[in-house]
């Protein structure tokens, strides 16, 4: 129940601040609402047991991207004060956004998501064994190996961050390197484009 209460508060803050972003007349006020919305999303990540992603969210979105946006606002300041904030297709945009939201909400509510309740292994069932030799197989401190009835290891599981680190260095190695190159190119591109 307390988790649901926290969720409702965080969801209200996130969506309310997001509405503030798109309705505020001043672009500066919009940016401040955006910061609040990012913080609410970080709270949702904590509720989802992904504290690492919450920290990343605060560091990159609240820390870096928001400051970047505020810099851009300062550099282009007072350019649109007193003007209309929306263009003349706002009615069409509103209709499209509402229709899409209705569709997405209906799908999210109705679909059978095959939740992982059945996959949670009971600790007392004799299926989960731990020990030095098994931990060695998993190669990560604090990891655990799930065995089948015959005693053969079937699944190696560990905490979020350890698994994520291994995934970046194995399954997603190519994507990881490409992301690094993209960041470098974006860095150079931003400098070249914005230079006098």
């Amino acid at each position: 129940m307390i988790e649901q209460a926290f969720f409702l508060v965080l969801a209200g803050v996130t969506l309310g601040a997001a509405l503030g972003v798109v309705t505020a007349r001043s672009v500066f006020v919009s940016a401040l609402w955006l910061v609040l919305s990012f913080l609410g999303i970080a709270g949702l990540y904590v509720l989802l047991d992904t504290g690492f992603l919450a920290v990343i969210q605060v560091l990159i979105y609240v820390g870096a991207i928001s400051v970047l946006i505020l810099f851009a606002i300062m550099l282009t300041r007072n350019i649109m004060v007193g003007e209309r904030a929306t263009n003349n297709q706002w009615a069409m945009g509103l209709a499209l956004a509402l229709a899409l939201f209705g569709t997405l909400a209906a799908v999210g509510h109705q679909a059978d998501w095959r939740l992982n309740d059945a996959a949670v292994v009971p600790a007392a069932g004799g299926l989960v064994l731990t020990g030095d030799s098994l931990a060695e197989r998993a190669t990560v401190p604090g990891a655990l190996v799930i065995q089948d009835e015959a005693g053969a290891p079937t699944v190696a599981a560990s905490g979020n961050i350890a698994t994520l680190g291994r995934a970046f260095m194995s399954d997603y190695l190519l994507a990881f390197e490409v992301a690094a190159v993209i960041l470098l190119v974006a860095l150079l591109g931003a400098i070249v484009i914005a230079r006098e």
Binding site: M1, E3, Q4, A18, V21, V22, L34, S37, F38, L44, Y45, D49, T50, L53, I56, Q57, I60, Y61, A64, I65, L68, I69, A72, T76, I79, M80, A85, T86, N87, Q89, A97, L98, F101, L104, A105, G108, H109, W113, L115, N116, A119, V121, V128, L144, I146, V155, A157, G159, N160, L164, A167, F168, D171, Y172, A179, I182, A186, A190, A194, E196
Partner: protein, 118 residues
């Protein structure tokens, strides 16, 4: 069974995406359009992480003093990380473009950016 049903997260994610879409489609200031795009990317991330958290097989245990939720795969988490990386790159280049156009045209109004219009 977690206390919060997964579709609550999906509705919040859909709301973020659609609010961002509305902002990106209707605002005149280019910086506001970029904010709308950031909101859309965040909505996608919330949805990815929520579905990953609720669908990926996991074990909730206390093992050798290490309590917590043990997972077998981090597909959704890795996907969300790459989305954050690309969003950061997009924000940097996008804001640099806005500043460059502002320098040459003294404007950040989207409807005046028609240099490539035939």
């Amino acid at each position: 069974m977690p206390a919060v049903p997964v579709w609550w997260y999906l509705i919040v994610a859909a709301g973020l995406f659609c609010i961002g879409l509305y902002g990106a489609l209707t605002r005149r200031n280019a910086i506001n359009v970029l904010m709308g795009v950031e909101l859309m990317l965040n909505g996608v991330n919330v949805q990815t992480v929520a579905l990953w958290r609720y669908v990926t097989p996991a074990v909730a245990l206390d093992v050798n003093g290490a309590t917590g939720r043990f997972v077998t795969a981090v597909d959704g988490l890795a996907f969300a990380m790459f989305v954050i990386v690309l969003a950061a790159a997009e924000a940097a280049v996008g804001l640099a473009l806005i500043i460059a156009i502002y320098r040459s045209r003294r404007s950040v109004r989207m409807d005046e950016f028609a240099l490539l219009h035939g």
